[in-house]
Symmetry: C4
Subunit: 231 residues, 4 copies
Amino acid sequence: MSKYQHIREAAYYANMELPKLNLVIFTFGNVSAANRDLGVFAIKPSGVPYAELTPAKMVIVDFDGNVIEGDLRPSSDTKTHAVLYKHWDIGGICHTHSTYATSWAQAQRDIPIYGTTHADHKTVDVPCAQPMDDEMIKGGYEYQTGFQIMNCLSERKLDHREVEMVLVGNHAPFTWGKSADKAVYNSAVLESIAQMAYLTEQINPDCARLKESLIKKHYERKHGPDSYYGQ
Amino acid sequence: MSKYQHIREAAYYANMELPKLNLVIFTFGNVSAANRDLGVFAIKPSGVPYAELTPAKMVIVDFDGNVIEGDLRPSSDTKTHAVLYKHWDIGGICHTHSTYATSWAQAQRDIPIYGTTHADHKTVDVPCAQPMDDEMIKGGYEYQTGFQIMNCLSERKLDHREVEMVLVGNHAPFTWGKSADKAVYNSAVLESIAQMAYLTEQINPDCARLKESLIKKHYERKHGPDSYYGQ
Amino acid sequence: MSKYQHIREAAYYANMELPKLNLVIFTFGNVSAANRDLGVFAIKPSGVPYAELTPAKMVIVDFDGNVIEGDLRPSSDTKTHAVLYKHWDIGGICHTHSTYATSWAQAQRDIPIYGTTHADHKTVDVPCAQPMDDEMIKGGYEYQTGFQIMNCLSERKLDHREVEMVLVGNHAPFTWGKSADKAVYNSAVLESIAQMAYLTEQINPDCARLKESLIKKHYERKHGPDSYYGQ
Amino acid sequence: MSKYQHIREAAYYANMELPKLNLVIFTFGNVSAANRDLGVFAIKPSGVPYAELTPAKMVIVDFDGNVIEGDLRPSSDTKTHAVLYKHWDIGGICHTHSTYATSWAQAQRDIPIYGTTHADHKTVDVPCAQPMDDEMIKGGYEYQTGFQIMNCLSERKLDHREVEMVLVGNHAPFTWGKSADKAVYNSAVLESIAQMAYLTEQINPDCARLKESLIKKHYERKHGPDSYYGQ
């Protein structure tokens, strides 16, 4: 069995979740799964419909973006994935153009934390990275998207282990996590948060952000040292 | 057969309705079913995906929140359920983060009664409990959520047998009823009412509440002494 | 074979379309099919879930609202159906609480004719009947709802053969047609029109109604003496 | 085998995608597939439900709108298709009344380019053709709709090979492409773009269009001489 079989399967099954969760249509979106010991990740091939995907069609790429194994061309967003794997200790990345999260990205707004659904997953607004400046666009677009994401978090002093999602302004969301499955989970949670934040502002244009004591309480229920969520 | 088998199955089947009714994603949401003679309820285990649930995995808990039987940790919202069972004569409770009801909760607004779909189920606006004060948050959060719900109804002089649903401000809805099935039914009705009230205000920002004579008529069709709905 | 078998089946199959078309949840909504020669109609029993319906469970009622055959209690809206059958030469009636049409009814607004999807089915705004006055509510609510619908059309000089749908203010839509199937079709078309009219006003608050020359052209394509739609 | 078998099947399968992609209800919408060597196209018959369609039921029509082969009456929009095939070198056309694209058409607004999902498919706003003047309506409505579409593109100096979609004001979208499949794909992409542009404006009424450098970059990723999307 190939030493890459595990991440091929992890990437395959995670990609197949995207249409089931209504996060993509056609070939939009891509998920990757990393083996950090081997310094590689498996990613969806570019432009191949989900119905035709198999584990064998996943492309193996190293953290500099070089194809290591695979007959197909990798996702056009591969270099963004590579940059994030190279600099962050993460196991999976997911990129979609899901309806509500993408609309917030197009509106170039952070998603305010309005409730406990949001606070169950992070303690801050979902950050929206400003659109890339023209110099960066010329200098390897997908490569620079990775740095755009990292810069957005570092400028705001956010830790990628605590905030596992970002909106790329005028573009769409990227999420990540310990595994490809967790990255996909984060994309679905983000889409739900994005829809509810939109509706909350429509229902009450003067609505207030969640207060700090509740933010802290909910996040710690799931993630603090004394967390008591899950088994 | 275990004396708890009946409520294990009631809780199991009621929980399984939540994803079918599009009221939850992943492990969000939980339903419980009580046996008031035995003074216990069966509730969903915490963080277990719906596809992996079985009646045997439901956790049996008493009305003080102590686990009586079951290998898994109960839902993180268990103490809220326990408080409500202890003080109210009800048979089932349902908690979801359904999209529209949660958005009204985040907007911290009661849902106005705009039509007969609402009046078929209750005669008042759906109450939204104000977010908990910081003292309550520190003092056992889920436990206090139960009191927050009860206080909201008593302050407004509402009877929990007539108003079987509440929004917890900045959080999400809780519903209840004679059985777990009825509690789930109420969650689905609430979600539908919440969506239509949102749209009604968008279509006509000056829309008026339903007039009292129609509220009374519709509620009595289904619930009055001369009700003529159903078999 | 019972002389009512045909309308029992027509009503059954038409009712079963409602959940498939996402026009109802639970037991909301009801469809009837008339045999005008026999002066009766078959209608859904009250409060019975769609999954448990059969043709045999449909209730046969005459045009004065008397049950002629059937073990179950008919829909609580039966008298509204009876009044319309008695006064209008129609073969089917459908009542739902579909999301967008009901929201316009709650907003107490006619649905303006904004495009050709609307004009393909009628040449005027979808009328919204004003909520019933208190005297009518006391005098047999469902019976009066029938007259409320008829009055709405006659006040506006609309012909029920050309305008097969109405919103009952603060309540929900009723549609009708030559058959139960056509009544259900009209409910689905109305829901689509209602959603698009809502979105049209959100996208352009100053949007204009469709001009008369286009209204006339589209309606005549489908319904005029030289219609050329369909086989 | 008939020389038309290929386009009959292409048109059949492309039409069957419309309900699966939630772009139509009932018999709304139609797709055609052309054989430019033979100067004909296959199109959906008028008013036939999707469930009853077969390749044999597709109607063969020439580029002047004359029926060449087939027992059924072709789509009422056939002459619009004929005009576009006659003047443009394209292989497929799709017409739907999809919810969001139709709402923009009813609002008589171009869909602004707000993000990269849009830019991946074209570099300009989706054009909305002004409603037809009364003289054109009288002079063969569907025939004139073809010219209305062509005039809209030529007035704006747009090339139909680069902009494969248009909104017909007060009516609905038309899309086209090298094949019937590509035309359907474009309709689904347009619906997604239309929904996200609507939401973007709701979330941020002052939102800005995508800047030119990003428009150019994204379009060239998929369509430029050095494109690197797909296999």
